[in-house]
Symmetry: C2
Subunit: 151 residues, 2 copies
DNA sequence: CCGTTGTCTTGACCGATTCAAAACAACTAA
DNA sequence: TTAGTTGTTTTGAATCGGTCAAGACAACGG
C-alpha cells in the first residue's frame, strides 16, 4: 500500500480493478490518471499531468502519454481531438455520444444525440466510401463565455 | 503575364477574379494554390506546397500557409482538421456539407447530409452550452482501401 | 510611373506528441 | 517468499505540423 492509493481513499481498489480487468498492470501513475479523469472529464494531457504530479512524485509527461495510449488501446478511455485544440480524454466509452466545444475557451461538454440517429447520420452519397461510424461535434459557447459575451 | 498564369491557361483570369473579389492581391503563389485546390480538393498544406512548387519557383511552405490563412479568413477556402491528420483545405464553402475520412489512408470525401438536418443535429442536452453549428465526420474505408482489405 | 500597403522570403521558434534505451516495478509461478 | 519475466516508467532527444517576426519585395490605386 503506497501513499498514492491512500490519497484516493476507498476508490483505489475499484480503480485498480478496472485497470486490471483491462489486462493492464496496476501502477501508481495509472491509478492517478484514472482518478484524475474521474474528477476532470475531457481533460487534456497537460492537465492530467498536473493532476498526476500531485499524487505521484518524480513522474513525467511522457508517462502520462504512455498511460493514455495504453488506456485508449484497452478501451478504458476515449480520445477526442477537437479542431484547434490538443487531444482530450474521457472515461465514457462504448456509448457513442457526441460533444459540444466552446469556441471561446475550448471547454468540452457531452451531448447525447437522442433524436433520429438513423436518418441523419446515414450519409446520402459517400462517393465510394463505406461509412462505419459517425462523429458529431457541436460548436458554440459555454455558459460562462455566454455571460462574458453579454458584458 | 508570367509563366505561372500561362501554365494555367484560360482559367487564370477567372482565378484572379475570385482572389480579387475577396479583397486580396493577386499573386503567383495565390493563383497556384487556388489552381492546385481545384484539381486536388481536400489537399493538405504539404501537398499544396508540392503542387505550387511546380508552378512557382523559389517559394516556401510558409508562403503556402500564409495564402491558406488569408484565403480561409476571406472565406475562399474552408479548413477541416480530421483527428489524427494534418489540416485539409477545400474550396466548397458556404454550403455546410460534411466529410468521410478513410481510416486506412486518410483520404477525405464530401458528404451532403440530406435527411433531417433539423431533428438530429439539434442536440438534446447541451449542459449550458449554446450550440451554433454542427460538424459531422464519418469514418470508414475509401474504395481502394476496401479493395485492399478484401485481399 | 510612383508610393503605399500588403505579401513573400528567410530563418527561428513553439506546442503537442512520439521515439528509444536503459532502469525499474508489477505480477506469475515455483 | 522470492526470483524471473514481462511490461512500464524514466530520461532525453527528436519529430511533425504549424506559427511568429523582420526585412525584402511586389501588386495595385492614384
Amino acid at each position: 500500500m503506497t501513499d498514492t492509493t491512500d490519497a484516493m481513499g476507498a476508490d483505489a481498489a475499484a480503480l485498480a480493478d478496472r485497470i486490471h480487468a483491462a489486462g493492464l498492470k496496476v501502477t501508481a501513475v495509472r491509478l492517478a490518471v484514472l482518478h484524475a479523469l474521474e474528477s476532470a472529464p475531457h481533460a487534456g494531457a497537460d492537465a492530467l499531468f498536473t493532476a498526476v504530479r500531485g499524487d505521484v512524485t518524480g513522474t513525467s509527461v511522457q508517462a502520462v502519454y504512455g498511460v493514455l495510449t495504453s488506456f485508449t488501446a484497452a478501451g478504458l478511455v476515449r480520445r477526442i481531438e477537437p479542431a484547434g485544440s490538443p487531444a482530450r480524454y474521457e472515461l465514457r466509452t462504448g456509448d457513442n455520444h457526441h460533444h459540444v466545444v466552446c469556441t471561446g475557451c475550448g471547454a468540452v461538454g457531452d451531448v447525447d444525440c437522442v433524436v433520429g440517429e438513423a436518418p441523419c447520420l446515414t450519409p446520402s452519397n459517400t462517393g465510394g466510401f463505406s461509412a462505419q461510424s459517425a462523429e458529431v461535434t457541436f460548436w458554440g459557447l459555454c455558459a460562462s463565455c455566454q455571460r462574458a459575451e453579454r458584458a
